[in-house]
Assembly symmetry: D2
Homo-oligomer: 394 residues x 4
């Protein structure tokens, strides 16, 4: 059982929201080690080791900065280190989290221009290119994309966004939120030419929330020299200076670093490509279940299907939140809720992080029994369809 | 992942053997507390508390003795405290574990008379009564019954055995092994008139292996005064003397007692009756799955169905161990093997301990996909049948 | 041993820096529980319980905000929620941390006026009053005080600072850093009329680093309505709105909240007054040891002695860092280093958090043996003096 | 704090009884891993690895058997596997534990002949040789020696006992209890020609209680073929058969094996010789403290001083138990009590297992302050004397 449950429940809770994810026992056992002196000689060795192991996960040989703060903070860090109040940025509004990022930019004095979608697909690459071509004066300082939109289960093609920017010959920075993709879906900071890759600990990295990240390009570092946003906690420069020897300019979240060190070992032991293939497989099984239930996947474009989560639309006249409540009550499983315009219209199944075929089948069984218990019109064929797929290529 | 795995596996292992069971996180976190002084004043308070909480789980107000040894030891303790070399006992051979107990008795110099079964049902109550009636000289000193036969999934009716002994007017002691029933299936040491109830920590009590138990009746204590088997480690008398103030005569397994204290709290919080009903429900769902696969439950008598585990017969010409190996390899789940005459003919699904509907569905899905992957003839209807049952009364 | 040590060391590391402190086993076992859904119904119950238990530790009935970020972040939050770029504040430069806070203010566009000290005492209350009286135009928007200056071991009299502000009839906000005092030395947010009390998790609260706090007065909340600093992550308003039902506006550091919940229980079980008395006692024993060694306590004013740590001056011509290195190498104990102008001139002994007489004696023994091993001129009388004091009033 | 304390106590408990010892955090974190299938393929790999790593700690290339039972059980196993009811053995009564072993032998039908000591030294080698020479009929089947007598702090010279047996040309088996020496004081099963080395988990091996050991010689194995004591749980033969592939004949204490695997790694990382030297050093420092207090070490023969614990005599007219109670109450430290004829006359300081200079100094400071608080006549010079020694050769 969890640390706190208002009623006793036998067995483990199924935490199938799209993050925080199920933290592996091995990571929890690293987390709970005694805190060490973050200024002592051993810390520098540990810090350097962690920073080095982080880079391949981001697909980069450039610096990755670790903030002792949850993921939202790394969004802020990406903006305040590269931009100045009054700057304009292009935001791709793929869903609720893209919307929240835009809202944050506004609070920080940055003006956003939105490229909307219908929240059923990833970023509109053609529209980005068109807008940038039109911006002949280069007033747009950055393009902001959420790689994996956690509210809809749509994964934008960051490689195509990069090509669009290049095709338009536009100097805008490319800022990408990979909070719910990193460690689950391939992220290629260098190959995609991303300037700031934002991420967090509590999804594919299999940690509790409490750490967040900025991978930064040379161009981003140059922008930081002139960026006018006031910053101190989020400032990259003292971080990079201290990181050179494995230290941090102010107290790091030491125990979370233990957990990160261990989680990175686990990803490497499985092999990143195997990790991504596992996520692809579970996502495909889930979508087959959804269709077999006669329900609709929120993401309409197969090229944008998310391997980290699947948002599922409930039929008109039924309540997604009522279904989630039934499932939590009867089957001790948490699912993600619909956000913003999707409130009560979708539920979200997280199948990312430390996950297996049988845990997925427990999850899908819980959804199928929940649909029945909540009286949501559906066909009881989803679990069968998922097994057909999984058994076929186990 | 477990402490040791020869290859990396994402997600938690499904440990669905009929014990050791999945130890709850809360129990593991009790287990790993610093060891305390087992002679200090605080220990007596803790020891007394644990001993008091144990009694209701055994359905007794009489003493329950805790050995710092795994379950096999408590079998030995039951025999050496009540019997003398050369004594005769009546053993009900319901399966492999009854057989092992009989074998142990032999090594300790006790002569066993067997009442055989076909390993597809519990103890033969009529045969017991007949044999006892015939034993007019009362040469049989004890009747030994395995309450829940872990090798076959058959639960003997200990209440009926008691009535048979009484009907025969026979003074034999009643020794009952509840290792795989206690905490999962109701045990009524007092109401059933059991003289020694043997049990262990690693099944329904949700602990790792390492503790075992004897609940003892007044009659058993009287027998201990004259029993001729040599004994020291297993001797009840110094145990009972020390237990009076919450202590033990030699070093107890302190950390396992922490875990036991916590596990007893968890059983009480859920409520023992709810715990038993949960096990009944999961067992029924499992049997429905087995039948829907077109396979056979090893136990043929519905009155003896076990709520702790289900042994499943594989079709002639197929290998149960091959199936188990496929499932372990492809789906990271351990199932129990066939023992003795059932070797390679059955696999056993443990559904006892800290368990839930969704963990059961993960388990049954793993079996169904494994049957397919291993090429065992079956119908892919088991998971569906289990969900039909579970969703209907969630 | 710690999670990482570059060489094997038997026994536990003595982490006697003035924070992070030795995290109690019970808190570590709360920390490592499975992460839960921070949007689910149970979370609100837990969150509300924690927020309620936090208030008495701050001596307040007003809101306490929890940031999923280490302590430095709460400094920034205090500034950006109450001030506007270009605002002037009065900073009491009692040591290195006061200096760092001033530096941070500068980076955020806030102009600091310094009231210096010689780093051997707490804030200069008379100078504060004089400066405020002179500020007839009320250009100073806030007075910033570090309650317990971790670099020097001097505890400022915040009550007197409050009276000085009142005596001057000045409307400045009072912002107080209690990062290294909270939970070790009494903090009275309400009684002292503090507007923002800043704190962190890794000192007297006995947690790892990773959480920080702002307790906020009505006047501070009013200031937040007009404060011009751009802010999003640190913004109090969405925090307070979500906290009303026990939730957070963005992902909280869930596992750290488990640890906090447990640590607050521990403080309450011991009783806050007992906790403070224990710290006073260990500090007095430490100072007696320092004097008996013939060394000097950095803090010269007994009214400002810190009960959380003691900074000790080494004789001219000897290196405090050399001593610390010897002690770490030979005795596996970390001590705090001298910062800023005290670099290599002092070492700092942390005696705060989850600490006991015998752990203190281990600590002081390590210092005394280290002084000898490092060849620092001293008398071997410190341990004896500390025992004389502790034994006298155990 | 421990799992259970009847009153809240800040800081860690000092568990300075001569075992169970302070279990290292790293071992506790191994212990609390999920239980695995003890019949699955991975278990055999783990089991084989552990069995192989155990041998060097016993100084043997012969088999070491692991019982899932606390140390007293391994005493019983040594006797019942090698002896027959009515056999005579020579017991060296060096203290309380030797006495208990003799008592156990009696309960198992084995006749003991005692070679007494004054409980202030190890086994009387000359008397052993004399008695064996006199036993021309070889009626004595075994010589039983407690290597490190935990009740007195005297370590017998097993090498000399071996030479005495050889000198007498006597075929008796040599059974040695190393429960409180193994992992702290060198044990040389092969070089010393020991036939059965008995040990347990909760002392120098740094584990909780719950495992025990028999290292067995070829001669002991041969004796087992003809030994007449009834045995089943303790029977070596099925153990050795199963161990050949890394398995056990009945359910092992799986989680304790995880802990053992990790503890063996820790001993190897430090190096066994370093481990022993560390224990020697702490024992010498402790004895110097005892003498400086003006008290007497119970062991009078320096050749038999124990490096695992020191038993200290209190002056006539004072109560050792009163002192221990004062120390527990005021300083949160557990010390060992006097046993048998030493009841209330000695207290015992455990300085074995995972231990360090500073933990020893905390311990000795607690004793010194306790002597003062309890009004035991002494000089306050013990801590100083220990530091003089430790600082001189740190």
């Amino acid at each position: 059982m969890a640390y706190f449950q208002s009623q006793p429940r036998a067995g483990r809770h199924f935490l199938q929201i799209p993050g925080p994810t199920n933290v592996p026992d091995r990571v929890l056992r690293a987390l709970d080690n005694p805190t060490m002196d973050h200024r002592g000689p051993d810390f520098g060795i540990l810090g350097s080791r962690i920073l080095a192991k982080l880079q391949p996960v981001f697909g980069t040989t450039q610096p990755v900065i670790i903030f002792p703060a949850s993921g939202t903070g790394a969004w802020e860090a990406a903006l305040v280190n590269t931009l100045s109040p009054g700057d304009r940025v292009l935001m791709c509004e793929t869903g609720w989290f893209a919307h929240l990022w835009e809202e944050m930019a506004g609070r920080l004095g940055i003006l956003s221009e939105l490229i909307a979608t219908d929240w059923r697909r990833g970023a509109d690459v053609a529209a980005i290119e068109a807008r940038l071509r039109a911006d002949t004066g280069h007033t747009l300082k950055a393009v902001c994309v959420v790689h994996n939109e956690t509210s809809t289960g749509a994964t934008s093609r960051v490689d195509e966004v990069r090509r669009a920017i290049d095709a338009a010959g536009h100097p805008a920075l490319l800022l990408v939120d990979t909070i719910s993709s990193l460690g689950s879906i391939a992220v290629q900071h260098d190959a995609w030419g991303v300037d700031v890759t934002v991420s967090g600990s509590q999804k594919g990295l299999m940690l509790p929330p409490g750490l967040s990240f900025n991978a930064v390009s040379k161009k981003a570092l140059a922008a930081a020299e002139t960026a006018g946003c006031a910053r101190s906690f989020w400032d990259w420069r003292p971080m990079l200076a201290a990181n050179a020897t494995g230290y941090f300019p102010y107290t790091p979240a030491t125990n979370m670093l233990y957990a990160l060190d261990t989680a990175l070992d686990m990803l490497n032991e499985e092999g990143l490509d195997n990790v991504f293939a596992r996520h692809d497989r579970h996502a495909e099984a889930t979508r087959r279940a959804v269709r077999a239930w006669g329900l609709e996947v929120q993401c309409e474009d197969p090229r944008h299907y998310s391997s980290a989560l699947t948002a599922v639309r409930v039929p008109e006249g039924t309540s997604a939140d009522g279904l989630r409540s039934t499932i939590l009550q009867k089957f001790n499983m948490s699912l993600g809720n619909g956000l913003g315009q999707l409130k009560d219209r979708v539920f979200r199944i997280g199948h990312l992080g430390d996950f297996s075929d049988l845990a997925l089948m427990g999850t899908l069984s819980g959804v199928e029994m929940g649909l029945r218990a909540a009286g949501v019109p559906h066909k009881d064929e989803g679990v069968r369809a998922a097994m057909d797929y999984l058994a076929g290529n186990a």
